[in-house]
Symmetry: C2
Subunit: 478 residues, 2 copies
């Protein structure tokens, strides 16, 4: 057992002191792996300033020192000992959330990097790293090495669409479509469960939001969409110029009738943007089958990529509108700017985040095929979770997604009322058990996401909740 004071001095994190107190030891090897990674980066730095002719004596010495330090670190890993590294650099703490905990954060699950993505990040971190071989016509999606051009083709095919572009986040995909289609005062159809970034995109364009209300089960139905369109046409004097529907919303993770929406969109001749922030990259999405004109996905939410990243895919008939190339010219010089696309502002996602998308992509293509298993595990966890008396699920049941909203007002919140840590007792108890991602202090309504967890992790997670309930005398069904 490490002395509490020493531990605090080394790390200063109360929750981990608790971990040590509970006997759930943080594995020192995680910190040591970081130390070794950083030492190798220091050695790499030597080569970055060396002459091509070779290292000089002092540089050779630094490499030697690096090797020696690595040897010591490998020894510490073998012996599972040594001090913990606290900082990446001045003021920036080491991040070990994914290594030390089971993370059920509602938005982080699908954006964890794959091993290949982390390797790509190491290799392609420098600013304009993907531009080494940028040749005519000088546009990101035309670069062949690394194979960015092919990746774009594969992305479009993956989404069942005709053309795709990477963008710095799904929100930038919404912005590009809205900016192309919506004029001041135009009605845009969103829903009562739409993500705020859709609202902001409409606000920036000067458009007017018209919501479709979810039904009593918090589902957006095709009937309601059709009714609302007719109402808007009656009241505003014109149909919405665009409709945006989240396949699964961020509040409940409920599935909305995107196929029905696709049908309605065609019937009323309204362009349809499918928001796949919670689907593209974790479950199969076929834009044309859905009847979408535009498909937007998020790299950092669901495609195992670094932020900010995302994809905007469109059907053939929209390519000239959304991906229109520049038409402007210098009024005196007559300068023109070739094939640069206006809404993309030229190149969009040079560098590191794009490479993480590309490196993760083969794995993403495979993992969407296993979506059923993810949903099964989600339901399996919920089943355990509901054994705790008072726990309720606010999302649709059975779950069709791994993101779920729950209400523990009648269970954990009852404990919080008299606990000295108040609502923080729950997150604290979870952390002691190596679980993180629940909003700090939340004991009433909160969300979690089991995406990417294995069977044994889901089982562990369920046991942890049962264990906490029992510890505080909450009744648990056998």
């Amino acid at each position: 057992m490490i002395d509490k004071k020493i531990f605090k001095c080394l790390r200063g994190d109360e929750s981990e002191i608790a971990l040590v107190q509970e006997g759930l030891k943080i594995d020192i090897r995680i910190s040591k792996i970081y130390e070794a990674l950083f030492t190798l980066e220091e050695m790499r730095e030597v080569f970055r300033h060396a002459l091509p002719a070779g290292l000089d004596d002092s540089e050779e010495e630094r490499i030697d020192e690096g090797l020696k330090r690595l040897e010591r670190i490998l020894d510490e890993i073998r012996q599972q000992k040594g001090n913990r590294l606290r900082y990446v650099s001045d003021k920036i703490e080491l991040r070990t959330r994914e290594e030390e905990f089971i993370n059920i954060d509602p938005i982080q699950a699908g954006g964890r990097l794959t091993l290949d993505a982390r390797k790509a990040l190491i290799a392609y971190g420098d600013g304009y790293s993907v531009c080494d071989n940028c040749l005519k016509p000088f546009r990101l999606d035309k670069i062949k090495k690394p194979p960015i051009d092919r990746f774009h083709d594969e992305l479009a095919a993956f989404l069942g669409m005709d053309e795709a572009r990477v963008v710095p986040g799904a929100r930038r995909g919404f912005q590009a479509v809205v900016s192309s289609l919506v004029e001041r005062g135009d009605p845009v159809l969103l829903t009562s469960l739409s993500h705020y970034t859709e609202f902001l995109a409409v606000e920036e364009s000067g458009g007017v939001v018209r919501e479709v209300m979810a039904d009593e089960n918090n589902i957006i139905t095709a009937d309601r969409i059709a009714e609302r369109i007719e109402e808007i046409e009656r009241k505003d004097g014109k149909k919405p110029v665009l409709m945006i529907l989240d396949h699964f919303d961020y509040q409940f993770g409920n599935e909305h009738d995107v196929y029905g929406a696709g049908r309605i969109a065609k019937e009323y001749d309204i362009p349809f943007l499918y928001n796949g922030a919670y689907t593209v990259g974790i479950m199969p999405v076929d834009g044309k089958k859905i009847g979408a004109d535009f498909v937007v996905g998020s790299g950092h939410k669901s495609m195992a990529s670094s932020a900010p990243s995302g994809v905007l895919a469109v059907r053939e008939e929209w390519v000239d509108k959304i991906f229109r190339t520049t038409d402007i010219r210098g009024d005196l010089t007559g300068r023109k700017f070739g094939v640069k696309e206006v809404e993309m502002l030229g190149c969009t996602l040079m560098g590191a985040p794009l490479l993480t998308m590309m490196a993760s992509f083969p794995h993403v293509k495979e993992r969407v095929k296993r979506w059923d298993e993810e949903v099964r595990r989600s339901n399996r966890f919920i089943e355990t979770f509901l054994k705790i008396k008072g726990n309720r699920v606010l999302s649709e049941m059975p779950r069709k997604h791994t993101l779920t909203r729950v209400d523990t007002s009648a269970s954990f919140d009852e404990v919080a009322k008299t606990h000295k840590k108040r609502g923080y007792f729950l997150t604290s108890e979870l952390k002691k058990r190596g679980i993180t991602g629940v909003f700090e202090g939340a004991t009433r309504e909160w969300k979690f996401n089991t995406y990417g967890l294995t069977d044994r992790e889901v089982e562990y997670l369920g046991s942890a909740f049962i264990d906490i309930a029992k510890k505080y005398g909450i009744e648990v069904e056998a």
Copy 2:
């Protein structure tokens, strides 16, 4: 000497075969450092799927295997032997440009990551990695851990402005300002040397571009700006609603009269956006002293950060306009979205690129103080370069920047005319000497950037050009 065929099989890169032929050996340790980094990532991956309770036997075995592999790699580093790693992952090649070469690419110099930025990238690669401690009011620039809030304050102070936001690239900074100020048909003052992304931002807004022509020395002067504003007012019936001036342009790296422009902007009461893509992060910039209303910088161009990243800083009086918070609400639900900023689309630069900006920032703050040395080295290289008969500098002289445009039509292009590799002979000869970044095949007009090179690298670079000139019988001044 490695056999040519084997080398080609291992790496497949003609230019490097040439390197080996010339006896300039690529240091195998660079590739081995990558192998070790990747092996550590594989070990890290084990912990990412382990239960908090600890590793099981098969996981322990994988850690052991990793340790053994690392031992072998360290041995290979010591003995400088072993095979070269070619790929990061399927289809994505290893990138060793910065380690193996002196890179004088015109756009890559200022965006090379610092050691601390590379460490931060390793730790914060996962999608929403900076959102672990996102609390009310839920906005990126308010996050305290990692210290993103303080970074924003420091950024504003660093630029001599009042408020700053990070953005996914300088172009997104232009877009935010233009979208806030420019209505359809409004004239916007750019110059004959403006970057294309400024044109695209104006095009997206529906504005009209009006250029100021550079003078005979390719400099934008205050007089010309004033004249042009008066002409626009006469002809268009209104003044420009915005003027954008690049402090140093991307074509010549010439300095334009931003202080004069600041004066004119005030005199004519026109908002002034200072484009510091080639200054912010490499030389001191004081926005208020310049008289700028907005300062835009690029993380991946000049702040040692991963793409896409940048900064938009504004003066107090513009905060409410450019960083206006959302006003839109759901027409049925009445939903509102708090302090989210419209032009930022909420949060802008979550994750990896932001952390590289933050980790590099202390170094960036120091390096701008050494700008004079950078300029001195730039001029020192030019001096050597001009000893080669026929070489000309198209940028202003003496150089005030490290980015320079040259014309070698009367020297290297003469060689290219009869060389079997044509224009590629020059880049090939440079690569043999461990130098990269000159546009492949260019022997007439081309650009380079010496930013970040040490004295000895600049000396080596000069010698290499002299050496190539002599090899091909071009006259060289003693």
